[in-house]
Amino acid sequence: MDGEDLKLVKNIMEKVKKSGDPDTVLFDTPTTQIAKTNFFILKGLLELKGKKGYFVSLDRPHQNMSYLLQNHDISQENIWYIDAVSHMSGSKRIGKKNVEENVDFVDNTFQIEEFVEFFKEKGVKRKNFGSLEDIDFILIDNVFPILNYNNIEKIQEFLSSFEELIASHENLFGLIVMNSNSHDNLDRIIKRHVKTVIDVKKLKEDA
């Protein structure tokens, strides 16, 4: 990470702070920068802010993010992964990476509307992640790939319940990452369910 990247991380954190608690925030970023944006958000939340939360992998196996954090010496003590894509990743190698064991694998990628129930009931019953009251954020890595597995109605249902979940927990931030140019309809729907949109490309230009 160079100085520009670090400044962007700080700018992102500044924006998240300004948006006010509790809140659901959309990070609008170019598709090619989604993985990096997720990493920057996590670096800011875990390292700069000392927050604790879930990282929901819908786009690529959680091991990649875990590996990135490990490679950049960012502690993963306060992150729990909910991985819905590894079961479709097709790689033997992913299991060989030396990463933390803080993960729940879910295989109902095609039933996105059930995810919020997973957060509430089945999710994380280990360590100090006992309930949603114990955490500060839920970050969804990229909403767009959900369209590969679910129709728009199911996604709408998921977003409604996700917004309600966040609104009913004062301690929680809901963070969603997507390129708003990926899909007009999905973009419109998401923007109805978030309070704040952060334009990461603009923040980068300002950094």
Partner: protein, 226 residues
């Protein structure tokens, strides 16, 4: 329907042949004989990314020092030399290929990708690895291509094609796209062509398209045939 997102190939005329560019993320093979423009293709692809604010990572398997590669790229007007070192990182893995097993090479590539976090990756040429890994070559390719697919990047592997061989088939089965570069003797001169053999999820132009390679523009697909 979720449409595939695409990134520009950086080759003038090629984006028009492939619905706007390479699908993001994806892994492509650019194959051809000696002098057909494989390395130039890879450099154009990374340079285009750097122009868009994307990071690029260039792995060479040839044990070529950075200054050797830069010596040749300096001849190209279309490549901004300032990109090298920051936006485009150059990494020689030749010694690893020669002296280590394929797991060590994969670990190194994985670590380097995690360090740089590139949006574009080139491995030039991948086929050099085959004789070193012998019967493990196919396993290596399978794991490498899966590794690349699971990162959020567009990767281009280049492959050497021997005379009489159409393309390196052990690589083509696993990648998302195959682009062939060729040089044919016609009317006493050698002419260069580009052909999109396969690109998943893409309505692409078929057949050999004539190209020119110049120091000013790199590879340009000539429009006479499409």
């Amino acid at each position: 329907m979720a449409e595939l997102e695409r990134v520009s190939t950086g080759i003038k005329g090629l984006d028009d042949m492939v619905d706007g560019g390479f699908p993001f993320p994806s892994v492509s093979l650019v194959a051809g004989g000696a002098g057909t423009g494989k390395t130039t293709f890879g450099l154009s692809f990374l340079t285009e990314g750097a122009r868009q604010g994307e990071k690029g990572l260039f792995f060479t398997t040839l044990s070529e020092p950075t200054q050797w590669m830069l010596r040749y790229t300096n001849q190209f007007d279309f490549i901004d030399k300032d990109f090298f070192g920051d936006e485009i990182k150059y990494q020689d893995v030749g010694l690893l290929v020669q002296n280590e097993g394929y797991e060590e090479l994969l670990d190194f590539i994985d670590d380097k990708i995690a360090e740089v976090m590139p949006q574009r990756i080139v491995i030039d040429p991948i086929t050099v690895v085959g004789p070193f890994f012998k019967e493990e070559y196919r396993s290596f390719l399978f794991e490498l291509i899966n590794l690349l697919k699971n990162w959020q990047a567009v990767s281009v592997l280049t492959g050497e094609v021997s005379p009489g061989m159409a393309y390196p088939e052990e690589v083509t089965y696993a990648v998302d796209s195959v682009i062939l570069l060729s040089m044919l003797e016609e009317e006493g001169s050698r002419r260069k062509y580009l052909e999109v053999l396969k690109m998943r999820g893409t309505d692409h132009t078929t057949g050999k398209q004539p190209i020119s390679i110049t120091t000013e523009n790199g590879i340009v697909v000539l429009k006479s045939r499409f």
